[in-house]
C-alpha cells in the first residue's frame, strides 16, 4: 500500500514538473492538461496561468486573485497575483487590478515584473482617461491644462506655458493654472524678464487662492533672486503661516536670518524645519551652517553627520551599473542592444 501511494505521489509530482516544463516552454495546452492531473498544491495556479495564456483570462482571473491569498508557496503566490492583475488590466477592470498590485508591491517591493505591471496599469488608465477627456470635452480648459502638463513632463516649457495661457483664457477663475504657468516660465528661463512674468502669475494665483502657500513661497524666491530679502522674508512668513508643514519657507527664512547674522532666529526656524522634515537635506544643511555660524560647532557636526547619512548614495548604485554594462555590450548601438 505504501509502495502504491509513493508511486502515485511520484507520478503526480512528475506530472507537475512536466506541466511546469511545458508551461515554461510556452506549450500552454499541454501544460494545462498535465497540471490538471497533478495533486501538487501549486498545480492549480499554473493550470490557471496556462489557461490565461491561451485566451482564457475571463474564466481564471478570479481564481488567480483568490490564489494570491491562499497559495502557500511565495513564488506561486507571486505568479498568481501577476496573472490575475494582467487579466484584469487586459479586461480594463482597473479597479480590480489595483488592490492586487498594491498587495504585490507590499510583498515584493523590488520586483521588476510587479513594478512594470503597475506602471503599465497606470499608463493604460491614464491613456484611457485622457482619450475620454479629448473625445468628450475637447473645448474644456482641462484639455489645455493637461496638454500643458504633458509638455512640462517632456521639458517643452514654452509650449506648456502656451497651453496654460489658453486654459486661463477659457477659465480665468480656475485655480492652479496661474501657478503652473508661473512655474513653466521659471523652468524655461531664469532671466530677469522670466522672473517678472512668473511673479505676475504667482500673484494672480494668490488673487484666486490667497491660501496658496507654494505661490507665496515662489514669489519669495523671486524676491530673493532680486536681492530683496526683507520683502522675501514677509512672503516666506506668510507661506509658513498658511501651511506649517511646508518646510521650504522656513528654510528660506532661516537663510535670510543667517545672512543678517541673526543666528538665534535662524536656528529656531531651521530646527523647526528639521523637526518637520527630518529627511530634508536642505533643512539639515542650513541648520548645520546656522550652528556653525553661531559657534555651536559640535551641534553643527551632528547635523553634518545626519546630512552625510542622507546623502550617501544608495547601496549597489555602482553594482547595478556594472550589471547593466554586462547587458549592453559597448560598441553596439542602443537600438540593437534593446532588441536583443
Amino acid at each position: 500500500m505504501l509502495v502504491i501511494s509513493l508511486a502515485l505521489a511520484l507520478a503526480q509530482s512528475d506530472s507537475f514538473t512536466a506541466g511546469l516544463d511545458a508551461f515554461r516552454r510556452g506549450d500552454y495546452v499541454t501544460a494545462e492538461k498535465m497540471l490538471n492531473t497533478s495533486s501538487d498544491p501549486r498545480a492549480a495556479t499554473y493550470a490557471n496561468l496556462a489557461r490565461a495564456a491561451t485566451g482564457g483570462c475571463d474564466s481564471v482571473r478570479d481564481g488567480l486573485a483568490q490564489q494570491l491569498a491562499t497559495q502557500a508557496d511565495a513564488e506561486t503566490r507571486r505568479a498568481a497575483g501577476l496573472g490575475a492583475a494582467q487579466c484584469y488590466v487586459a479586461a480594463e477592470r482597473f479597479e480590480s487590478a489595483l488592490p492586487i498590485l498594491a498587495r504585490l508591491r507590499r510583498d515584493y517591493p523590488s520586483d521588476a515584473d510587479v513594478l512594470y505591471l503597475t506602471a503599465k496599469l497606470h499608463m493604460k488608465a491614464w491613456n484611457d482617461a485622457l482619450f475620454g477627456l479629448y473625445r468628450n470635452a475637447p473645448s474644456s480648459y482641462r484639455v489645455n491644462q493637461i496638454s500643458g502638463e504633458v509638455f512640462e513632463m517632456h521639458g517643452r516649457f514654452a509650449e506648456a506655458a502656451g497651453e496654460y495661457r489658453k486654459a486661463i483664457e477659457k477659465n480665468p477663475a480656475a485655480v492652479n493654472l496661474h501657478f503652473r504657468l508661473g512655474r513653466a516660465l521659471l523652468l524655461e528661463s531664469n532671466s530677469p524678464a522670466s522672473l517678472d512674468a512668473a511673479a505676475k502669475e504667482f500673484q494672480a494665483e494668490l488673487a484666486l487662492n490667497p491660501n496658496d502657500a507654494v505661490a507665496e513661497y515662489q514669489i519669495g524666491q523671486i524676491l530673493t533672486a532680486r536681492q530683496k530679502p526683507a520683502e522675501a522674508a514677509e512672503r516666506y512668513k506668510r507661506a509658513a503661516a498658511i501651511d506649517p508643514k511646508f518646510v521650504e519657507p522656513l528654510i528660506a527664512l532661516g537663510r535670510i536670518r543667517t545672512a543678517e547674522k541673526n543666528h538665534a532666529e535662524a536656528i529656531t526656524l531651521l530646527e523647526r524645519a528639521v523637526a518637520s522634515a527630518p529627511k530634508s537635506e536642505a533643512a539639515r544643511y542650513n541648520l548645520m551652517l546656522a550652528y556653525r555660524n553661531a559657534g555651536r560647532r559640535e551641534e553643527a557636526r551632528k547635523q553634518q553627520e545626519e546630512l552625510e547619512r542622507l546623502q550617501k548614495p544608495p547601496e549597489g548604485e555602482f553594482t547595478e551599473f556594472l550589471k547593466r554594462l554586462g547587458e549592453k555590450t559597448p560598441g553596439k548601438t542602443p537600438e540593437k542592444t534593446t532588441k536583443q
Partner: protein, 544 residues
Amino acid sequence: MIRLAVLVLTTAASWEPAFVNVARDAGLAHVFPNGGPTTSQPTKKYIIETTGSGAGLFDYDNDGLLDAILVSGDGGTTRLYRNEGRSRFKDVTAATGIVAPGWGKGVCAGDYDNDGFTDFVITRWGSSILFRNAGGKRFHNVTQAARLETGPNRYNTGCAFLDYDRDGDLDLFVANYLKFDFTTTPLPGANPYCFYRNAPVNCGPRGLPFDRNILFRNNGDGTFTDVSDASGVSRPAQYYSLGVLTGDFNRDGWTDIYVACDQTPSLLYINRGDGTFSEEALLRGAALDEHGKALSGMGAAAADTDGDGWPDIFRTNFSDERETLYRNRGDGDFDDATAAAGMAHNTRFVGWGCGFFDFDNDGWKDLLLVNGHVFPEVDRLPGDIRFRERPILYRNRGGKFEDISERAGPAIQERRVARGAAFGDIDNDGNVEVLVNHQNEAPGLFRLRERPAANWVLLRLRGVRSNRSAIGAQVRITAAGLTQSDEVRSGGSYLSQSDLRLHFGIGGARKVDRIEVRWPSGTKQMLDNQPVNQVMEIVEQQVK
C-alpha cells in the same frame, strides 16, 4: 577713507568696456579638436570629448611677455606660442620640443626645479606630462625621470603646483575625474545615466567609476613622491574632480586646495601644516548649493570680491544650475552668496573657465566665465539651453556683481563651446586679456578695444627662500585708501594657467601707498610709496 576711495575711483566706474576677439590677428588660429561634433561624428559619444581643454599664459623665456599654450584633445596638437611682442604670437611647439599627443586636458605652470625658468604640466587621459624648461629655449619631457607616471586609464584634469610643505620647492596636485576606458564605457542611451531631457547622450559622470586625486611631493632632486595616501588627499573616494584652485583660504600660512567636482560635493582640502590635509568642504560651506545639493562644478576662481581681505571662491556649474559664489566669512568658512551678490539668474549656461580680473582697473575684481554645453543634442531640444554659448561678464560694483554681458563688446557675444580660460596682461599695458580654448574651433583672445582711464600695477614676485615662482605668496596693496589682496597661484580657472604675476587696478590713485608680501617661507616684506602703471618685480627679501 572709504569715501575718498569711492571719489577717486569714479572715473573708472563710468567707463564701459568693449571686448574684441583678436586671436586670429594675434596668430592664434589653429583649431583644437575635442571629439565631436564633426562632419564624420555628429555628436559626442564619450564623456572624454566633453571635458577638454585648458589654456595657459606664462612667460617661458623670461623676456617679460606672456607666452600662450593651448591644450588639445585627441587628433590635434597641444601648442606653445611665443609672444613676439606687439600682440603677435608664433607657434614654437616643434622648435621647443613639445610633444603631448592624445587626450590633453589641463595645464599648470611653476618653476619646480627653482632654476629660474617656468616649467609646466599637461594633464591627460593616461599619464600627465611634466615639461622641464631648459633655459627658456627647449622643453624636455621628464615625466618618467621625475616619477610622475600614472596608470593608463587615469583621467587627469585640473592641476596646480603648490608648496604644501613650505620646504621651498613646488609640489604637484592633480585632480582625477573618473576611471575612463573606451572599451567599457557605454554608448549614448545605454543606461539611465546616458540621457539628458529624454535624449540619449554620452554617459556619465554618474554611473562611471570614481578615481582619487593625487599629490606628488617634490623631493628637491628632480623627482617626486606620490604622497596621496600619506597626506590624506586620496581619502575622499566618491567625487568627480575637475577644476583645481589653491589658496590659503583660512590664512594660517599653509596653502589649501579647493576642487570643483561634477555632480558630487566639491572638496576643500585644508592644509594642517604637518604634511596632511583634512577635507572640510561640507562644514565650511563650500561643497554644496544653498539647498544642500551637490552641483556640477567645473572651474573655480578666487578673489577678495568684497574688500574684506579674505579670498572668496567662485565656481562654474552646469545648466539648470546657478553659478556659485562662496563668500569667506573671515576664517575659511563660507556662505553661499550667489543670489545676494547678484548672480542667481544665469541658469542656461554650462560654465567652465572663469577668473576674477579688474578689467576697468577700479580696484574691484570683476568676473568673466566662459560657457558651452557638453551635449550637442541640446540644440534639438526645446528651451533656451544651447550647445554654443556666449561668455558672461560681471562687473563688480563694490562687492555686488552686475551682469553686463550684453553690452560688453562683440567678443562677449560670440557663441562657442568654450572650456579653459587663462587671464593675463599679454602686452604689459595694465589691462588683462583672456585666452579661451574653444572646442573644435580657433581659440579666443579677448582684449579691450579701449583702455579705461585708470591706473594699475602689475607685480612679478620672485622667491629666494620660497619657491622661485613665488606660488603661494600673498599680497596686500593699499592705494587711495582701498586695500586689495591676492595670491600667486598655479592652475585655477578650468584646467588652465593664468599669469603668475598679480594685477591690481587702483583707479585714480597716483601712487601705491603700501605693498605687503607674505612669502611662502613666512617672510613678510613691505614696500611703500611705489609708482603706478608699471610692471614691478619684487624679489624676496633675505632675512638674516
